[in-house]
């Protein structure tokens, strides 16, 4: 009886196990099939499939009226609070019914944060993009933005292209569509120096390799870092390398990024040799590869620990005493603002080719296809990137060079820390920068070339890679 009962229970258990197995197998299979259905679809995510809402012909008649108003979220990484909120406040003077919330991420986290947000299709109405392979590259994120061309035509007229910086349109055009409106351009390829330190130690402003080295040596003897670079942050190494290339043969770097020149060209090998020489000869500070440009190198310069730094036009804002004081405090310095001035990248190749800078749109404003109110979002992008009021604000902050050609900093209103030392070089620098020929900073560099270049520069600087091998590695990038 007992045995029979046991056998019965065993059969029951076997049956039960089979049932459980069946249920599990069914669940697994259905889950797999569902998953396969979801993923085997090689078309777009839902958000991208939504039809693009085009802005109205007359973008100026936007959402400012007495309508219900809109609530928008603006994503970005620059210039950062409180400047973005100030822009919004100025915009709201003209468009009081549009409420915009600024959502900021760090420059390094931007891509990781915006990608899923855009793919989700909600919560991003306006977002910042940049040119080429920099963070927020328009080539990647532009697919989620509307075409702004018609709106811009409606706002500035058919000759809008003549009124705006060429790069602002060219670098933001993807597959023939204008995906974002540039707000301001940045120029790089020059150095900034602490003029007060140069004066105090009677150091000649360097114009060639020997003078640069001599200046660094003098500062070092006085306990100051001559030139500081956070070479652990690759983008700034690329700026220095680009400047060296332009010093040897202007324009060849840009040609190579466009496939019109080979990276194995002797110019690029020579430029890598000179790059290495900066480390070997002590122009780059000790341990440069171990620190970042931001915050360390920036802090060292702003706190007076270093006399020279490789920064671009975005650094001009530090010529304003209030901005500089705030940034110095952020760099743990309680000193008074000093006179910093831009200088040309020294002629380290001895060619006489100096004064070349390269530029990109620092950031541009894109309107998401899935924006809660495309019209209101477009109004904001147009106001910031194409209106006199918006662009004047950008110009006077000295953070960026405005894209609207009719606008320039109001020098009667803008007072620098030391006008006597700074006014002339700063104004000349900005004028020269704006007159430079077509020479994109990151605009023509793909993400893969960007990574390869950062690797090569770090490898050559640290001695694990020869210049010739480095150039060959750049040439391998498709």
């Amino acid at each position: 009886m007992f045995r029979g009962c046991k056998q019965f229970r065993k059969r029951k258990d076997d049956k039960m196990k089979k049932s459980i197995s069946f249920v599990l197998a069914t669940l697994m299979a259905s889950s797999t099939i569902l998953a396969a259905c979801g993923t085997a679809n090689t078309s777009a995510p839902a958000s991208a499939a939504a039809p693009a809402a085009e802005p109205a012909e007359d973008a100026s008649s936007g959402s400012d009226g007495a309508g219900g108003g809109s609530e928008l979220v603006w994503w970005g990484w620059t210039p950062g609070s409180p400047l973005n909120e100030q822009y919004i406040a100025e915009f709201n003077k003209e468009f009081p019914n549009t409420k915009i919330t600024w959502k900021q991420t760090t420059v390094d986290d931007y891509d990781a944060a915006i990608k899923p947000a855009l793919a989700n299709g909600e919560g991003v109405d306006i977002f910042e993009v940049s040119a080429g392979s920099a963070n927020g590259g328009v080539g990647i994120f532009g697919g989620q933005a509307i075409n702004m061309e018609e709106a811009l035509k409606g706002y500035l007229g058919d000759d809008y292209a003549d009124k705006l910086n060429e790069a602002s349109l060219k670098s933001m055009t993807v597959d023939g569509e204008l995906k974002a409106l540039g707000v301001g351009t940045v120029y790089a390829g020059n150095l900034w120096i602490n003029q007060d330190l140069f004066d105090e130690y009677n150091v000649k402003v360097p114009t060639n390799f020997d003078e640069w080295k001599s200046a660094c040596d003098t500062f070092k003897e006085n306990g100051i870092i001559g030139f500081v670079q956070g070479a652990g942050q690759g983008a700034f190494n690329m700026d220095t390398y680009h400047a060296i290339c332009d010093n040897i043969q202007p324009g060849l770097f840009t040609k190579a990024t466009r496939g019109e020149a080979e990276w194995t060209d002797p110019v690029f090998v020579q430029a890598l040799d000179l790059w290495k020489k900066l480390f070997d000869e002590g122009i780059m500070q000790d341990g440069a590869l171990g620190i970042q440009q931001y915050p360390e190198a920036n802090n060292m310069f702003l706190s007076g620990q270093a006399a020279m730094v490789m920064m671009g036009s975005w650094y001009t804002m530090n010529c304003l005493p209030d901005t500089m004081r705030a940034n110095m405090e952020a760099a743990s310095s309680t000193d008074e603002p000093f006179a910093m001035v831009p200088i040309n990248f020294p002629d380290i190749a001895g060619t006489g080719n100096v004064g070349y800078v390269f530029c990109d749109i620092d950031y541009a404003t894109a309107v998401a296809k899935d924006a809660a109110d495309v019209q209101a979002a477009t109004d904001f992008a147009l106001w910031l990137g194409a209106s006199e009021a918006g662009q004047q604000m950008i110009a006077d902050s000295l953070n960026l060079v405005p894209v609207l050609k009719s606008v320039s900093p109001n020098w009667d209103k803008v007072v620098l820390t030391n006008p006597e030392k700074q006014n002339k070089p700063v104004q000349e620098y900005l004028t020269n920068a704006m007159a430079n020929p077509d020479n994109p900073r990151f605009g023509g560099i793909s993400a893969d070339l960007n990574q390869a270049m950062m690797d090569v520069l770090a490898g050559v600087a640290s001695g694990t890679l020869s210049s010739a091998d480095g150039a060959a590695r750049l040439a391998e990038v498709e």
Binding site: L27, I140, G232, E296
Partner: protein, 288 residues
Amino acid sequence: MNKKLSIRNNGMVWIAPAFLFLLIIIYYSIFYTFNLSTMDWDGLSPTMKRIGADNYTKMFADKVFWKAIRNTIVYFVITFVIQNFLGFVFAAILHSDVKLPTVHKCIIFIPTILAPATMAPVFRLMFSPQGMLQKFFNTVHIPITVDWLSKPQTALYVLMAIVVWEFTGMSFILYYAAMSQIDKEMLEAAQIDGAGNIRILITMIFPLCKGTTVSLAMLGVIGALKTFDIPYLITTGGPDHATEFLGTYIYRQGIRQSHLGYAAALSVMLLVMAVVGAFLTNKANKGE
């Protein structure tokens, strides 16, 4: 009716919600990642291109991938040995009659609870030629230049030192707990038989803590494979990929370079290695 009852009696009804949750969230994600690893996709563009095993072929030919694997192995072996040796020794010392034991425990454990994001800038400065360590060497006239983070040959070892500093507290606390379970009379008997402290530590206490060592090894393997925050925040994987790990490389490929398919292939490899690592350590534990 009977069938329903038997299912209920076997607890299927009760585990179903958790099981379904696990199935949907975890296993679906794994399958999705695997599927993605056969695609060429930037993460946003409307078209995905199926490329079969190309991402895997590329991965096995990728020097940076192998460098990341090598770094992971070196990192695991060195940090595991040093961290657990120190944790074991500290635990043994604090089981003897030391003064202010709570203070010592806090000092050892505090680094474990500090966020790497907070400590990263401190370490970047500390290990730079403009930092505190360099100033210390200068003050005591030791001619050493602290540029270790900037050199591919030394950067990984600096990171390992930081990790040992940070996670020795974890090993210590687990060994301390394990030692608390050991029968003191057994140790006293050994002492009466003439065994010295070091011998007791090596031949009795350490074997009795084997379970803890295996658990720490398993956590160590998985932790080494998942390593991201410390190298990313301190060296961003550089210089020249000298401190690249699978985690940082996946992020670099997936986010920075928008090769989501390739990043997914690397993730699948990471998963396989984590499963194999856990299996081997588990087997080592049962193998006695």
